[in-house]
């Protein structure tokens, strides 16, 4: 096993900050090759971030493209004081905030919450999927700050310090947000049980 591991090619070296800054500068000047390089290097991570933040893959492609558009439009403001991936992660968070807000407004109009609580039948595979979907709705309905703290620590498995760095807050603040997020989600899950019981 060790021999096999030794024979594996080394992982590609991460670009240095200086290289990243140079590529970013060229991309902000309209260099298509640089734009393509940034896109190719970060599109996978961007999709993952947004998928978690949006709670699924609906509208994902559109969200990824829009996030990249925003990134390239404001790339001249990238100062190189953090990794480009962190900077893009922040843009993904901002993009997700906007999408989630508009989605909540839309769902309120359609009273989706009431329908999904009543329609749940958890024993089947479909029920499992529905349960996950309901859980994701709970997450989407949370305030941005708490949802982001939960997603970064729970799904992206960042440490408190790493997540705090991405969001740009002290780790103690992030810890409080994470705590509140878990409490609110727990309340949401319990409330949903009473809603279903009341309806049945």
């Amino acid at each position: 096993m060790i021999a096999a591991l030794k024979s594996m090619p080394p992982p590609p070296a991460l670009p240095s900050r200086a290289e990243e800054a140079d590529v970013a500068r060229r991309a902000s000047g309209g260099d298509r090759t640089a734009i393509r390089m940034i896109y190719d290097r970060h599109v996978g991570a961007m999709r993952r971030h947004l998928s978690f933040l949006l709670g699924g893959d609906s509208e994902l492609d559109d969200a990824v493209q829009t996030a990249f558009v925003r990134a390239f439009q404001s790339l001249d403001r990238f100062r190189g004081d953090c990794a480009l991936s962190t900077w893009l992660h922040r843009i993904a968070i901002n993009e997700a905030r906007m999408i989630v807000r508009s989605r909540i407004r839309r769902e309120r109009r359609e009273d989706v919450a009431g329908q999904r609580a009543l329609g749940l039948e958890p024993s089947s595979p479909e029920g499992r999927l529905a349960a996950r979907e309901v859980a994701m709705h709970l997450l989407r309905d949370m305030p941005d700050r708490e949802r982001e703290a939960f997603v970064l620590c729970q799904y992206e498995e960042l440490t408190l310090e790493e997540a705090a760095s991405v969001i740009g807050v002290p780790s103690t603040t992030l810890s409080s947000r994470l705590q509140r997020a878990r409490q609110k989600l727990a309340e949401g899950v319990r409330e949903m049980r009473s809603t279903v019981r009341g309806a049945s």
Binding site: R47, P122, L138
Partner: protein
């Protein structure tokens, strides 16, 4: 933990979410859930929250390319709109840099071309174009591209974005010739009843009280009204409002304004075409006269000049040329130019390097399905099955 009740599960939700429940306690809750539908549902929701959504698959090469092109198109579309004053400056800059000349005179005669002033103050005059009463005004945009206004026409330059020129025609007749190789690569005419997009052709737009008409002498222009998109080919004239072809013969004299030979018109009065059928009603002579597709791609979404893209397709070899062709097909598809996209996909599939054949075939199937071409869909599906039997 033998006497588990629903209340116990409720109390444990916070800790379940934090992942701090010991395994034996967790097992008790699950045992209880086997007999309690409500707790079962609750635990499933907790699991859903803890596990989160599945990570999306890493995009493959094709998905990356498609995604990048779509993103790039959005990036271009999101370019800040040029305001009036900056736009005037931009127009002046374009004019100054490229030595655009203006001549205004009576029909059939031209005065010595006068250089446009390049200061921002006088640049406003540049972006408002008009023809004098009983005469015509010729705007030479360089590289053989020019616009002639007549019949009391008035227009304004409503946007200058790189090689793209937007003109808003208020009234009268506008005749234009767009040649590649100059500063302007694409002209969009905003007529009162629709939008006319021009890429390399000789065309005319006439805004009248009752209707707007677009006529084409060479090449193809695209007409958009609302969500409808129709192509007008050489020899055709189209009423923009009704999207019906009209007799082009009476319009022939106007081509003298732009010079060159007036071709035989081939279109006669035809029933109103749908956007799809419009692709097929063009006369065969016009099909033969169509410029190479690469010339009409125009680098709009690729960031390349049309010349570069053309060279890459025509002069490039192997993979580079094939990739350029595939890019062109996708751009055209995104822009709703179905027939041109299909043509490019066909050429791509007929080439030597067909790494994205599956994507090209699927895209072609989708386009043909949208156009209702059942037999073509069947042929392509058979081809897809032949090339990718494992699918």
């Amino acid at each position: 933990m033998n006497e588990i009740r629903c209340a116990h599960v409720d109390d444990a939700v916070d800790r379940l979410l934090a992942g701090t429940v010991p395994p034996d306690e967790d097992a008790c809750y699950r045992t209880h859930a086997t007999e309690c539908a409500s707790c079962s549902a609750l635990l499933l929701r907790v699991e859903g929250l803890v596990g989160g959504p599945p990570a999306p698959p890493e995009p493959d090469d094709l998905a990356r390319r498609r995604g990048f092109l779509a993103m790039e198109a959005k990036l271009r579309a999101a370019q800040p709109r040029i305001g009036w004053r900056p736009m005037a400056i931009a127009a002046a800059a374009v004019v100054a840099a490229l030595g655009i000349g203006l001549s205004v005179g009576s029909r059939g005669t031209t005065t010595e071309p006068a250089r446009i002033a390049t200061t921002p103050e006088t640049a406003v005059d540049v972006v408002r174009w008009s023809a004098p009463a009983g005469g015509s005004a010729t705007y030479d945009l360089g590289g053989g591209t020019r616009i002639v206004l007549s019949e009391g026409a008035s227009a304004r330059v409503s946007g200058v974005n790189g090689p793209n020129l937007d003109l808003t025609l208020a009234q009268g007749l506008l005749v234009g010739k767009l040649e590649h190789g100059g500063a302007i690569e694409r002209i969009t005419i905003h007529a009162p009843r629709g939008r006319v997009e021009v890429v390399g052709t000789v065309f005319a737009v006439r805004a009248e009280r009752e209707q707007d008409i677009v006529a084409v002498r060479e090449g193809v222009v695209r007409v958009r009204t609302g969500r409808t998109d129709v192509q007008v080919h050489a020899g055709q004239a189209l009423s923009i409002e009704t999207l019906s072809l009209v007799d082009a013969t009476p319009l022939a004299p106007m081509w003298s304004l732009i010079g060159g030979q007036t071709p035989q018109t081939t279109a006669s009065l035809v029933a109103a075409p749908t956007p799809e059928t419009a692709l097929d009603v063009r006369p065969q002579a016009a099909v033969a006269a169509r410029p190479p597709i690469v010339a009409t791609v125009n680098g709009v979404n690729t960031g390349e000049t049309p010349l570069a893209l053309k060279l890459r397709i025509a002069g490039g070899k192997g993979q580079a040329a094939a990739d350029a062709r595939f890019d062109a097909a996708q751009i055209l598809e995104q822009e709703g130019r179905a027939a041109e996209a299909l043509r490019q996909y066909d050429l791509y599939l007929a080439g030597d390097d067909t790494r994205f054949a599956r994507g090209a075939l699927r895209a072609s199937i989708q386009i043909n399905r949208r156009l209702g071409r059942t037999s073509e869909v069947e042929r392509l599906e058979a081809e897809l099955l032949r090339r990718f039997p494992q699918r």
